[in-house]
Subunit: 314 residues, 6 copies
């Protein structure tokens, strides 16, 4: 066909020297690669109206805006390939069934051992429980470092398995021990006393935004790792983007002032991923339909990049 | 791979009985099909700032919202396949070069004779001149029915080959004879007297919106066809969406009151395509970045559907 | 308290001679009134992302923009009172349970016989099945006139009780006989052949947009009423706002060109409500989060007003 | 200075054959011209929040998008010049004072007799009373044809001289006799019975939207003119853009379905202006801050163009 | 009535353990409570177009998004109740009259001594003068700490009692002594030299953003309190949200770079409220119609929360 | 003419004591002034769709929002006058020709020596090459301090003279020596390794965002100046606004997290301009069509103000 005809949507400028991050994503093909990525476009469980189901697409699109070279490190990630397992197909009206599909799909992925480390793109935070369940079944005892404005320890009676409950379910169903959970960045005025108490009662380590401002996120991550590292087989990072200040993440359903800067979060992720035990990440609670210019998905793309920086940094 | 994992972006609800129009699009593979489609994502030649380069994508996306069954006709178009030749890759800074790429690409397509009828998705109206040039070189004498608020007969001296000039260039370069051009829907207060005069001087048939309101679009199309049918080898429809009233096409750069309803336009296209000599269509001047919910691209999708209805109607 | 202090949100200009429609709404208090109104803020069953759960609030707000006097009729509706039964509380994660709550709540309302005629404000179109079920259980055989671009006769296997299925469920569960359903305004390219066939197979009367343009909506309504009036105990109007052209209803999830004008729809509703057997209305598929200035909710408010006009017209 | 340097904001493409309407506007210079134009950027008197003060700028900008040639008539208006008297400077906190400034400024303009016919660009509808007062003082008995969804006959007690009161004030202050006022296009559910009664009691001629649909706007305009022509020295058109359906005028504070198309309004204005007694126009109630792409201001520009068409038509 | 029927607008998810801040607001009922809240929805005095009249509603809505528990302090505010005195009804066309209504209403509230401390939600900054006047008449000598980008010491001649004048009026009318006013956060390039001079001439203490960056907001607040505490009976905080950088408060009419972070402002308020003499707060200059996702109103809600934190902190 | 009539668009509130920055701009008149300003509304060369051509207008409008008095310095800039050379008229379809017009226009300006220091308002970054060329031809050896997320050292083969190439062209065409270029604020993941290498190979000094965070922008500026000051005749600041974090500059085409705060950038510019050799500034890559409330243009206005502060500071 004529030289200038490109498949639909792909007729765009290409600089011969630039690799964009989306070029690293290879549709699953049975080859082993270090990193994998999968989307869970599920937001119907959210308590408030959420379009977080569109986030896997928005984050992949954001990745395509950035090139693979870190000027700061002088390292090009263009040699990496990432298996893109695609998105998990959700059921329109069966919410628990959709959550089960997440567990099944992640178990399938882990089972095949085609990747060593996996990124899960939510969706709302309800995707984390079925994800953790798959991990616990595949790798045994796990620990979690959760970046979040909220505890997500709500009772299940009032609304079932919403985006406010993943860690409550995980603890109650013995998927995760309370003392294997570290929460960083909990905001003021976004939680109930009862759930802070639940955290304390179950040995959850809670660092508030006051702690972040006092000690810095890197010190808190170090404490989290030290606390978990000898107790668990794998450390899982659960990144709820609403841990950020609204100026930095305008596209989360629950936004407010007084949160982290994106620099805080990215530094925290980079610090954590430097530890070998950290092998899984989910990124949740971005609603692209209410974001401004995909800003929040752009930060999410950088969460992945920072994870890679932590892993590769000499 | 697990049952519920779908390639990125494709994990969506599928009703077993529904075919969407985008499912008819098959990437060019050398097979012969009646219809072909190609995008020309070019809007840098526009006099005013335009994102019409995004329209091929937006129109394809709009097509994916509609199913292939016409209740009115009781006909399902799901048996059709359409060769999607993709998009023509444009040069970032060489505007004349980009226009040449359109001519070359369309000549290549026509040359291979893999399709009998072709849809060209602009882009701004400047894409029509290079397209017509390709047709004239391949099929000889052509006639054009242009739905437009504007004559597009501007002089070339003032700004070069902008979106205001395609038919002037075509006439001056003997790609199209003036008396082989019929303009339907010309708006008041969107043209200069000098260009109306140019039209008259070159035998262009001009039907204004007053004519549309007085006689109806179908009668005008019939006159256009009668005028052209014995003179030309092929009749080309050039559909500038700004022929519509702003209430119906909020996403064109040049909008205003007093234009056609979408029903007028769709009826006109359906009427025209019923004639065998009509074999080519371009759809131009949609800027998705300023549209409301892709309304204008949705009408564009229906321009294609109406074309098919005209062709298939018993 | 000081003269100028008003309860929060109520400090606004009041013209002593003007009654707004929201002033007619009286919270349920056990008194009998002719009309009642209830909201079903449910849109999680929707196939595509929908904020139709916000429509009951948006429609009530739109009602508050209009005064109760019809200049055309010379009649003031300010003597009417309407029992506002409020909104049905939905479950965050149990979609079938939410639909059951609709059936229960409407049965309760009908049972108490405090109102003779009821408006149900959706929500997406999935709310109609549970509503019809309540009616059928309370009043026996019912007929439905459905204004819609779509048949809503999708199979249940593929996605469960979505907004594409209410009339399929109703027919299959013998809540509604196929020949007691009349569909007006079905658009081209929004349905599958299989569902048109299902309609035919079950005796559903289908009027397409071509029929609307050819015969006018009033003639179709008259035919619908004549068809139903001796067969059923009550005629229910189900008004899916996407029957309108996108220029008139920019706030429906599924929009497109070629639909009714708002004048068509309002005329149709007014014509239908003039018949005594017509006693129930639902209004569905408005997503205020994607609308422009609540235009579509404003039309919805006028659907209610037109219903009243039909009832009261001498 | 260098050839390509233009004063700030004026470096734009110029086609040598095209005249835009803004080029006809000449800052007041003492020369006599047939037409004048003046802006009254006042919207603080509005009952609901309004940015109509931005409309004079938005309408002038809209004028600059259109060229001076009417294809329909074959007439170029490029020989006209229009004295632009600029905008009347409003006081930030003295609303009655601002209204007085309108009376004074218009009296000054009329007094100087530099123009024969004047366009007043509001602003909200409250600008009409001070304008009419100036006319009555300068030319004596006047008649008004008001295109409006609303009577604008509210009592003054409740809120002072708001945008709901101009014609009440005019009648009560004997600036305008009730039987010299003709209202065309009054919508349903936008007025109180008491004000319809006031209209009747004072001899106001009221044509509702039902009348527009039944008889057509041209017939109503003819009746209005016949009614007024022998009674008054000058006929003033007061064009409240909310007489239009919301699909055609999305940028008025009070929008709704069931109004005129822009074609209706433009036809009505053109019909009216054909009568020599018609010599003044105001255009009000456009709030550019809530409009979509200045659509409503674009219609306003065409109101002026249609007025000119009526005047010039052979 | 049926279990799931809730009054209109109240059918939403309720977690049994969570109290939201709006639940603390109790409509005025004659009971004594520590805190009161009242809205002054007035923005017509603003020099530039402003929808700040919508802010009382937007701030109350923002409060309803946050729960009453401070994780940082480990304190739940759910035991507090706040008397909501509602909103002061404004006159549509009498701006000075509206300002008088504020004085009267606040005097009434203070007079009844039902609350000890009061939040006033503007509105634009013009509401502060009538508010201070009420305080001065009820409690005698008052001091003010003003967080603001601007001096608000404009002359009254040019535009009357606009939002640029409250402190000028207060000083000139001897409602407030210049040396009892401390301004914190004055931005560069937002004031005239003449008004800085006026401040100096009248003993106003002015801290610019340079001072905030050099010394920190807490040190400035401490100096302010020390300066005022022995001189006045009550210290009033006047919080103009445009003291914030535009990244943190995108919804103020006058935005710009180089202002406070929301953390700065909240820290400053918390520091100030810890002093017993601080008993009144107003929050002004938020225009929800131009904000992004009510971000600025969310910060305003946190201003109230931070005030409470300061009061309750051990 | 009447007292209150002002030329169109100029009827606005004027405080007798306030001078706004736009009042300093005087259309070019042959008088000598220290500062000049010229716009280059060119963005068609951009790789991605850009409306940066609207930035000169948006920045001038932003300037008109700010007053000329710096509270921090206690200095009023109202004594300055700035020659506004207007905007360079661009060709609609000849991109290289448009770039040549920039060179010609700036040479003309420099040649006439009417101003000592010049601000160039882009436009995309492609305007810098033709600007530098003019400077080099007029003043000889120049040095550049570039604030940017990107190197802008792309090869010319792939896309011609796009906004990604200005410094590559300048170096290759010997308009600028590589070692006379200092880049500050280069972001991670926005460049290719090959271009970092090109920078190194040509002696370009590169400071990344990591350097900015480690050393502070003022220290880097000092190093840049020391490096250049003895080597060049003039130091030119090229300010690409995408050096800022997306929270501070939402209106650049290429946004992302991890950039400078606006305080960083303004401090850097102020520091640089304090050196006498710094005499030229361009400000590029603002696309007002995608910005939020002209925030990014507001920062651009402050870049100019900070430059003046640096020049005037004692
Ligand atoms: Ca969470
Ligand atoms: Ca969260
Ligand atoms: Ca055209
Ligand atoms: Ca056109
Ligand atoms: Ca439906
Ligand atoms: Ca439908
Ligand atoms: Ca009116
Ligand atoms: Ca009106
Ligand atoms: Ca202030
Ligand atoms: Ca302020
Ligand atoms: Ca750059
Ligand atoms: Ca850049």
């Amino acid at each position: 066909m004529a030289d200038h005809l490109k498949p639909a949507g792909q007729a765009k400028f290409k600089d011969q020297h630039v690799t964009k991050f989306d070029e690293l994503l290879i549709e699953a093909d049975g080859q082993h690669r270090r990193y994998g990525l999968v989307g869970a476009p599920l937001s119907k469980p959210s308590i408030s109206h959420s379009g977080a189901a569109f986030a896997p697409g928005a984050i992949r699109q954001a990745m395509s805006s950035y090139s693979t070279y870190s000027n700061g490190l002088g390292i090009d990630f263009n040699h990496e390939q990432v298996t893109d397992f695609g998105d998990i197909n959700m059921h329109p009206t069966d919410i628990p069934g959709s959550q089960d599909r997440i567990t099944e799909s992640i178990k399938t992925i882990l089972n095949r051992q085609e990747v060593d480390e996996l990124f899960l793109l939510g969706g709302d935070h309800s995707v984390t429980y079925p994800s953790l369940k798959a991990y616990q079944q595949q790798v045994g005892t796990i620990g979690v470092i959760q970046f979040d404005a909220h505890h997500d320890l709500r009772n299940l009676q009032d609304g079932g398995p919403t985006n406010g409950t993943p860690f409550r379910r995980a603890i109650e169903d013995q998927v995760l021990r309370g003392d294997h959970l570290v929460q960083i960045g909990i905001h003021d005025f976004t939680n109930a006393a009862a759930y802070d108490q639940f955290a304390k009662d179950h040995g959850v380590t809670v660092f508030t935004m006051d702690d972040v401002k006092d000690q810095g996120v890197e010190a808190l991550v170090d404490q989290a790792i030290q606390h978990l590292i000898d107790q668990v087989n794998l450390i899982y990072l659960s990144v709820d983007m609403d841990v950020l200040d609204q100026a930095y993440a305008p596209g989360c359903p629950a936004i407010g002032p007084g949160g982290m800067t994106s620099h805080d979060l990215l530094t925290g992720v980079e610090r954590a991923s430097a530890f070998e035990a950290v092998k899984a990440v989910d990124i949740v609670e971005i609603d692209p339909t209410i974001d401004f210019r995909n800003m929040t998905s752009r930060v999410a793309a950088h969460v992945i990049f920072s994870y890679w920086k932590g892993k590769i940094k000499p």
